[in-house]
């Protein structure tokens, strides 16, 4: 078969235009990620949180993280301002005016931040060396420093700004919550949930946690209900009056769903959680990449075409 240079160029140009036009359907082809078979996670209920920060200390202890002083001079108190290379989880406070009533927009609310353990994690897709992986059984997103090259693409990609980097180390690592994987391996639960005195941080299977969240959203505000403490399977309950929930489970559908979910009485964007589409940004980038390369078939075809043209060009000269 004889391919003329002109035809090849036409084909290449047409292909390029098709690719550009193809970008949207390609993204749609990316199938929504399903929950791993034994997905576990955390449900955080801001209306139950009293801001005691026991979870922050418990996390540090369980994960051997150093204390952090960022404000004030009292060496007895640890006071990290935000997640950092030394702090894997944190309680932050939203407040307006003189903070009269908890869990209202005009008042204040707490919020607990750490890795969301996305169903379609951008960091895992971004990582060139699979240092970040999503466990196929329990869905926990883990980090392996022996694989990591420190390129920090995970930080750029994470829509929640969770991975942190050890900027002042000669051998820096990426640091983020791994849902106390080492404790889960021994049949335990994550330290923050085990330590939480009110059940605001609740460990459990994601499917069950979603049910529990829906049960809470259906409660009549002000009526008393039983709330499980530490983990969904535990026998310990506390009675609390149901809060005025925003009718949304944050993490149920954001960027394809997350295994850490939140309930609150204040809109989530006020608590510093970004408003996100249901489709992950991974899907878009993946779709385009797939459309362009079709699993390296296209590049090889183009390479063949190029070699043909270069040889033919050389032949013309002689």
């Amino acid at each position: 078969m004889k391919i003329e240079r002109r035809d090849f160029l036409k084909g290449a140009l047409g292909g390029g235009l098709l690719l550009a036009a193809d970008a949207k359907p390609a993204a749609a082809r990316h199938v929504a990620k399903e929950l791993p078979p034994n997905a576990v996670g955390i449900l955080y209920d801001a209306t139950l949180c009293i801001g005691c920060q026991v979870c922050v200390g418990a996390c540090k202890q369980a994960n051997n993280m150093p204390v952090e002083h960022t404000a004030g001079t009292d060496p007895l108190w640890e006071n990290p301002e935000d997640l950092s290379a030394k702090t894997l989880n944190i309680i932050k406070k939203y407040g307006s005016g003189d903070y009269p009533v908890k869990d209202t927009v005009a008042g204040y609310s707490f919020v607990k931040r750490h890795c969301m353990h996305c169903l379609d994690p951008a960091c895992v897709s971004a990582c060139p060396v699979s240092a970040l992986r999503k466990n196929s059984d329990n869905g926990v997103v883990t980090y392996d420093k022996t694989a990591c090259i420190g390129c920090r693409y995970c930080q750029v990609a994470c829509p929640f700004n969770i991975p942190k980097f050890e900027w002042l180390s000669a051998t820096p690592r990426i640091v983020k919550c791994q849902l106390c994987s080492h404790l889960l391996a021994k049949g335990g639960i994550s330290a923050c949930c085990a330590a939480c005195p009110t059940g605001a941080s609740l460990f459990g299977r994601v499917e069950d946690l979603r049910q529990e969240a829906k049960r809470r959203l259906a409660m009549t505000p002000g009526d008393s209900y039983d709330f499980p403490v530490a983990s969904l399977g535990s026998k310990e309950f506390q009675s609390h009056k149901a809060g005025h929930y925003i009718q949304q489970i944050y993490g149920e559908s954001e960027v394809g769903g997350t295994q850490y979910m939140l309930l609150a009485g204040v809109p989530f964007d006020k608590l510093g959680l970004p408003t996100l589409p249901d489709e992950s940004f991974v899907a878009l980038a993946d779709g385009i990449q797939y459309a362009i390369y079709k699993g390296m078939v296209y590049p090889l075809v183009v390479l063949g075409g190029l070699i043909y043209m270069i040889r033919k060009g050389e032949g013309d000269k002689h």
Partner: protein, 378 residues
């Protein structure tokens, strides 16, 4: 057109010495970086994990080094043999640009000693755009060395090796066209993953195509700028007839780019953001104003034969396209948690040191190897 020849002038000029001082200073800061961490010399932070080492040294640096790619495309794919005299100098700047971008990546990588993990199949993540970019750039640096090797072999009279290499060099020329097409567009795909953190003024599904076009535009423009500078500094003969011919098709490339660039923002209904007086809006305007100016100059045939206008237009393309890339990686990027980034002095010095090293290598090579067209003797 005269055949390429070594300039054979004094290498150790004041320019060379100035570059050496900057490179030396950068070396000291680098020592600091490797002992006390990236944060000890740079202003990068958890909100802005990539600074100028990536945005300038790699993302702009490799595009500036696309002269070899752009000329090879012209000579070998579009079969325009008459441009051949421009290939060698272009290839050399590509070689330096990409090699130094590779070195910059090693400076920027936190765990650089494990960088080879990218090439270990059990670590490779085929879904990662970063993986593709890293493998392509790594391979392309090697390809560039092979492509440039005949020039070095000529000098050292390794005739047998040169002949043997010439028999298979077409494979490397083909790879030298394929690989930049892949990774230059992927540098655009890379920032799609940033999602909402990237301003709608830059975030579009056309990012890969726009990055490919800017790579080509900067490739051709830098060949022109470089030719003018060599004429002024090294008194090499004028290549004006060839440059004018390149200038004939640049308006087409630039026109397609501008159409997609502006319409992708406009059709998404985000053009108003450009006029809200914010830094992002102003940079968007500046970036596109430079490219529109170049378009307006080059679209008029009479300007394509005037060296001043050509120099002005090609400089505007280099600046505008470079700004587009910096905007996409830094200015248009806002993690939204109050983080700020502006490069620190040591960080800037390290980047300047990389540029200075490139300058020194350039001065050495054009004096020793047959790259530039032979100077006319007065």
């Amino acid at each position: 057109m005269t055949a390429p020849a070594p300039l054979n002038k004094t290498i150790y000029t004041w320019n060379f010495k100035a570059c050496a001082v900057i490179a030396g200073l950068a070396g000291l800061f680098l020592l600091w970086r490797f002992f006390f961490g990236i944060g000890s010399v740079s202003n990068m932070n958890d909100g802005y994990p990539w600074g100028i080492w990536i945005a300038y040294d790699v993302v702009v640096g490799t595009a500036l080094a696309c002269g070899g790619y752009a000329m090879a495309l012209l000579v070998y794919v579009f079969n325009k043999g008459e441009y051949h005299p421009l290939v060698r100098p272009a290839l050399m700047t590509s070689l330096f640009g990409y090699t130094l971008a590779g070195i910059s990546v090693m400076i920027d990588l936190g765990r650089y000693w494990q960088a080879y993990n990218i090439f270990l199949p059990w670590h490779s993540n085929l879904h990662s755009v970063m993986f593709e970019v890293a493998v392509c750039i790594g391979t392309y640096v090697m390809v560039l060395w092979v492509e440039f090797a005949p020039t070095i072999l000529e000098k050292y009279k390794a005739e047998q090796l040169r002949v043997r290499l010439n028999r298979v060099i077409f494979v490397f020329i083909a790879l030298g066209i394929l690989l930049p097409t892949m990774h230059q567009s992927s540098l655009g795909t890379m920032m799609l993953m940033a999602g909402y953190k990237l301003s709608p003024l830059w975030r579009t599904g056309f990012l890969p195509l726009l990055f490919l076009l800017t790579a080509l535009l900067m490739g051709y423009a830098i060949v022109m700028v470089e030719s003018f500078i060599c004429q002024a500094w090294f008194k090499t003969p004028s290549e004006m007839p060839l440059l004018s011919k390149i200038a004939e098709f640049i308006p087409w490339l630039l026109g397609v780019y501008l159409l997609i660039r502006l319409e992708s923002v406009n059709l998404a209904g985000n053009l108003a953001l450009a006029f809200n007086g914010s830094l992002q809006g102003n940079m968007f305007l500046l970036e596109n104003a430079l490219l529109i100016a170049a378009f307006v100059i080059l679209v008029q045939p009479k300007n394509r034969v005037r060296s001043k206008m050509l120099f002005l237009a090609s400089s505007a393309i280099v600046l505008g396209a470079a700004l587009y890339r910096i905007d996409t990686y830094i200015i248009g990027f806002d993690p939204g948690t109050g983080w700020r980034y502006f490069p620190s002095v040591p960080e800037l010095v390290i980047t300047l040191g990389v540029v200075a090293t490139e300058g020194m290598a350039y001065m050495w090579v054009v004096n020793k190897l047959a790259v530039l067209p032979k100077a006319e003797h007065a």
